[in-house]
Amino acid sequence: MSDPILDIRDLRAGVEGRDILQGISLTIQPGEVHAIMGPNGSGKSTLASVLAGRDGYEVRGGSVNFLGQDLLELAPEERARDGLFLAFQYPVEIPGVNSTYFLKAALNEQRKHRGLTPVDAMEFLTLVRDKIKLLELNEDLLKRPVNAGFSGGEKKRNEIFQMAVLEPRLAVLDETDSGLDIDALRVVANGVNRLKSADNAQLVITHYQRLLDYIVPDFVHVLMNGRIVRSGGKELALELEERGYDWIARETQAATQS
């Protein structure tokens, strides 16, 4: 087997003195799609934030290896340049900053980091025109400030559009399905699927099974109270949809008591 893209070992982390992740281990190989499911407050978004390096999250123990490096040692922008992409649950608006300018700067930071020459405005335009069709977004969006005045669906599609341009090795999708209607969901999922390749990987965080009808995971992990309590194939997601999260909670409790 090749080297994993992401290798999380016994990760413990929290925020403002509260322990949230209580020992998570997860290995993601190239070409794989993993889904993390779990009820509200189980630590799903915390995991995404810790991986991306958001300020305010404290890592208390464990390790995270990303493409052979200690991920936790890297600044957020270094993680991004190395190919870790977070599709935000709530993409923030940046008034005054033109979307094209922003995305070109992001791409060129990544290219610079990898020793490549920056793309010029013309090359970039050709590139984004290709990618924007994938997400069925209006080209006008490129002229608008980043996320400013975008609808909820546009913001989510814009995240995946950025992902398409930046071509990350690991994309973490944090509840990308929340707030999307079924058509938008299909478009987003279609985009994500098209971006899948043999040497990248995706970590899809979601509350609902619905998204997994469109993005079919290789592995499903159930996160509860900061721990992965069960892992399985895509059928685990269907079971969760049918039976809810409670039965796993009960079984887990029984297992720890016995």
Binding site: R54, D55, P76, P91, V92, I94, G96, Y101, E109, L166
Partner: protein
């Protein structure tokens, strides 16, 4: 405070890049101000009697005035007797070419990034550099002369075009106008004079670079621009000052006069030394700038990017007298550390169908206080006057302040006045979003600040817009992205 904010703090607390002192011998009057000093200044400048008389009238008037305290700025009282009112670089030979300029002076200009060389000629910029009050070299005079344009130091203009100067001096800002304008009128040492004859479109950007060098000197320059009927000129003023512990006073007067269908575009990039992080030192910038749209269909446009000075007190204004005349004010004022700025504009509508636009962008970082103060006044005769004002404030960190003081006086029921205002903050979420896309914090701050100022930058001449962007970058973080 979170780490992201701390990082921003670090960036914003970077040092002033232009804080070097030149070892140029200067001929300085001892500190103090009385009629004799006024006479000395006039004598050293070999001025005609009428100008001395004007200075003395201004001085006598100034003595009767009191310092204004209404701005939202706080500083210890200025001791006007502790200031030297005249400092001229001593070597002041008649220069035939730029090669004869004192090498160290030229080095100073090089450090400032302004060269008086042919490069500027290619860039189409004529520079009149003012260092410690006396104009050192004026370039491109000959080219301009071909068009009948006069662009010279104020002193030269007094010698060579006394009638023009005498006719217009104080016509827009009389010496009685305010405390600092009166002081300036009494002791002004040099400045720029610009005259665009009827129907002439000035073929290049005219540029002046001011720099305060000698310790304990106030800089009191005076600029007068007259645009005759149907003419056009674009003028850029840039300012820097070396680092000093003590505060230095800068009280300039700028007068613009636009006749029928004339247009004056006046752009300022001000980067006076702002003082250190604790607020020691720095320039007190108390400036009176006013333009008179005297003729019909005339237009005066002020664009300013203010990043320097410990204290800024400045309201470039337009008096719209001619029918259909237009006044514009585009401003970016950035304050950092302990800087305080109280700046804005006055648009005074006197003529019918006059229009004015105000776009003000205030940025506060560190523990700075930034105030917009603006007056829109419509006189009874200004039928159909229109004004649009937009004042936006951007806060960086959580220890700074932004204030807006809009004044509206409307004396004509047909007038239309609009005012919009917003306040926003660079959020940690925005910074993190940029970080997550591979953009580091300083570049993210830059990007957001530049985006915020875009409307104003697009009013600057291209080359200077780039400069202004860089300056904001430097002022905020010490390195340019």
């Amino acid at each position: 405070m979170s780490e992201a904010l701390n990082t921003i703090e670090e960036f914003v607390s970077s040092d002033y890049k232009y804080g070097f002192v030149s070892n140029i011998e200067s001929d300085t009057l001892p500190p103090g101000l009385d009629e004799d000093v006024v006479r000395q200044i006039s004598l050293r400048k070999q001025e005609p009697e009428w100008l001395l008389e004007w200075r003395l009238k201004a001085f006598r008037h100034w003595q009767k005035m009191t310092e204004p305290h209404w701005p939202q700025v706080h500083y210890p009282p200025v001791d006007f007797q502790a200031i030297s009112y005249y400092a001229a670089p001593k070597k002041k030979p008649k220069l035939n070419s730029l090669d004869e300029v004192d090498p160290e002076l030229r080095e100073t200009f090089d450090k400032l990034g302004i060269s008086l060389d042919e490069q500027k000629r290619l860039a189409g910029v004529a520079v009149d550099a003012v260092m410690d009050s006396v104009s050192v070299a004026t370039t491109f005079r000959k080219d301009l002369e071909k068009h009948g344009i006069i662009f010279s130091s104020f002193s030269e203009a007094v010698r060579e075009h006394p009638d023009l100067v005498r006719k217009h001096l104080g016509a827009v800002v009389p010496y009685t106008d305010n405390f600092y304008a009166a002081l300036n009128s009494a002791v002004f040492s040099d400045g720029s004079f610009c005259y665009i004859p009827k129907g002439v479109r000035c073929p290049m950007e005219l540029s002046t670079y001011f720099r305060i060098n000698a310790a304990n000197t106030g800089q009191f320059e005076r600029t007068l621009i007259v645009a005759e009927e149907g003419s056009y000129v674009s003028y850029l003023e840039g300012c820097t000052a070396p680092m000093r512990d003590e505060n230095q006073l800068h009280a300039a007067v700028v007068e613009l006069l636009a006749m029928d269908r004339a247009e004056i575009k006046y752009s300022t990039v001000q980067n006076w030394y702002p003082g250190d992080k604790e607020g020691r030192g720095g320039i007190y910038n108390f400036v009176t700038k006013r333009g008179l749209c005297k003729g019909r269909d005339s237009k005066i446009s002020w664009t300013q990017v203010e990043t320097g000075s410990a204290i800024t007190w400045k309201y470039p204004s337009c008096v719209l007298l001619g029918e259909n005349s237009v006044g514009e004010f585009y401003s970016v004022a950035l304050t950092n550390n302990r800087q305080q700025a109280d700046t804005g504009t006055k648009m005074v509508h006197l003529g019918a169908n006059t229009r004015s636009t105000i776009v003000s962008k205030g940025i506060s970082a560190g523990r700075a206080q930034n105030s917009y103060r603006g007056l829109v006044k419509v006189n009874p005769g200004a039928t159909n006057a229109r004004n649009f004002s937009q004042c936006d404030s951007l806060l960086i960190g959580d220890q700074c302040g932004a204030h807006t003081f809009p004044y509206i006086e409307c004396g004509n029921p047909t007038a239309r006045i609009e005012h919009e205002a917003t306040t926003s903050k660079i959020g940690e979420d925005q910074i993190f979003y940029c970080n997550q896309r591979g953009i580091e914090t300083q570049d993210a701050v830059n990007m957001i600040v530049n985006g915020f100022c875009k409307e104003v930058f697009k009013e600057l001449p291209m080359e200077f817009a780039v400069e202004a962007q860089k300056l904001l970058g430097v002022s905020l973080e010490g390195s340019v992205g």
